[in-house]
């Protein structure tokens, strides 16, 4: 009984036909999957960036939410620039898709670089400021 269980065998081998067809099918599937993962990550980066900028989230919060949700691009670099006038956030993410031969079509290193800028003050205040500066200029003249 034990010998029978141990002695069980399965076929192992590709037909010559399969050897020609399967690489092409797999290459197409890998390229499509890589593109899908990249698009997923790009959408995540854009949504996190927009939410982060508008809700004034901290750099650490943005990084943490990206780390949780990104699939392929694992290296994350978030930079923020806060002024009196505006708040600018830049997200740079980088990842690797090491697929031999397929890297001739799809880049080995994939990256997303997005930035968003939002005014820190309301548009009415901005108009008042502009008017003030114009009147000051006129006075100087």
């Amino acid at each position: 009984m034990f010998y029978k269980i141990i002695d069980k065998k399965v076929n192992a081998g590709f037909t010559v036909e399969a050897v020609f067809i399967i690489p092409f099918i797999l290459a197409v599937i890998f390229i499509v999957l890589t593109a899908l993962f990249y698009l997923h990550d790009e959408i995540i980066v854009i949504t996190v960036l927009n939410k982060g900028v508008v809700n004034c989230e901290t750099k650490e919060n943005i990084e943490a939410s990206l780390e949780k949700r990104l699939w392929m691009l694992q290296e994350i670099d978030v930079t923020e620039n806060n002024n009196k006038l505006y708040r600018k956030v830049n997200i740079y993410t980088k990842g690797e898709a090491p697929l031999p031969l397929i890297n001739m079509i799809v880049d080995r290193f994939l990256y997303i670089d997005k930035s968003r800028c939002v005014l820190n003050i309301r548009p009415e205040d901005m108009q008042k400021r502009e008017k003030k500066s114009e009147s000051e200029k006129e006075k100087d003249e």
Binding site: I5, I6, D7, K8, K9, V10, N11, A12, G13, F14, T15, V16, E17, A18, V19, F20, I21, I22, P23, I25, L26, I29, L33, W71, P98, L99, P100, L101, I102
Partner: protein, 138 residues
């Protein structure tokens, strides 16, 4: 050191399976499954990052191909891929599988051009997997 020993163990086991595949065109199921479980446990103990996403993608794709055209590929190759993936992770398996397919493609072209075999004959795939693993490890 432990990872190096793991790689050597994988290559030795692949050598044995390649030999049985060339000799009989078949592979023993139980030793392959046992080896993959052992590799998986050692991996959890060492803490190697098995990229589960790529690992499951390849196994899933192979299973789909097997069920769509089950006369074209054998279940033994899928089990061997499972063993390699559980040993050194999904990304390594992806590399090994693609390289072995490329080598098999070249070998198939050679067979067809010199009319050594017809298009429907079966060729053992375990030696290609072993060759690609050695190429990727060293």
């Amino acid at each position: 050191m432990l990872i190096f020993l793991l790689k050597i163990l994988l290559i030795i086991s692949l050598l044995i399976y390649a030999y049985t595949d060339i000799k009989s065109g078949q592979i023993y199921i139980i030793p392959v499954i046992l080896m993959s479980i052992i590799f998986f446990i050692i991996n959890i103990y060492i803490g190697i990052d098995i990229n589960y996403l790529s690992y499951f993608i390849i196994i899933f794709l192979l299973l789909i191909i097997y069920y769509i055209a089950h006369k074209q590929i054998g279940m033994g190759d899928i089990l061997l891929c499972n063993m390699i993936g559980s040993c050194l992770g999904g990304l390594f398996l992806m590399k090994v599988f693609i390289i072995s397919l490329i080598v098999a493609f070249i070998f198939g072209l050679y067979l067809l051009i010199f009319k050594k075999k017809s298009i429907s004959t079966r060729i053992p795939f375990a030696p290609f997997l072993m060759f690609a693993t050695i190429l990727c490890v060293f």
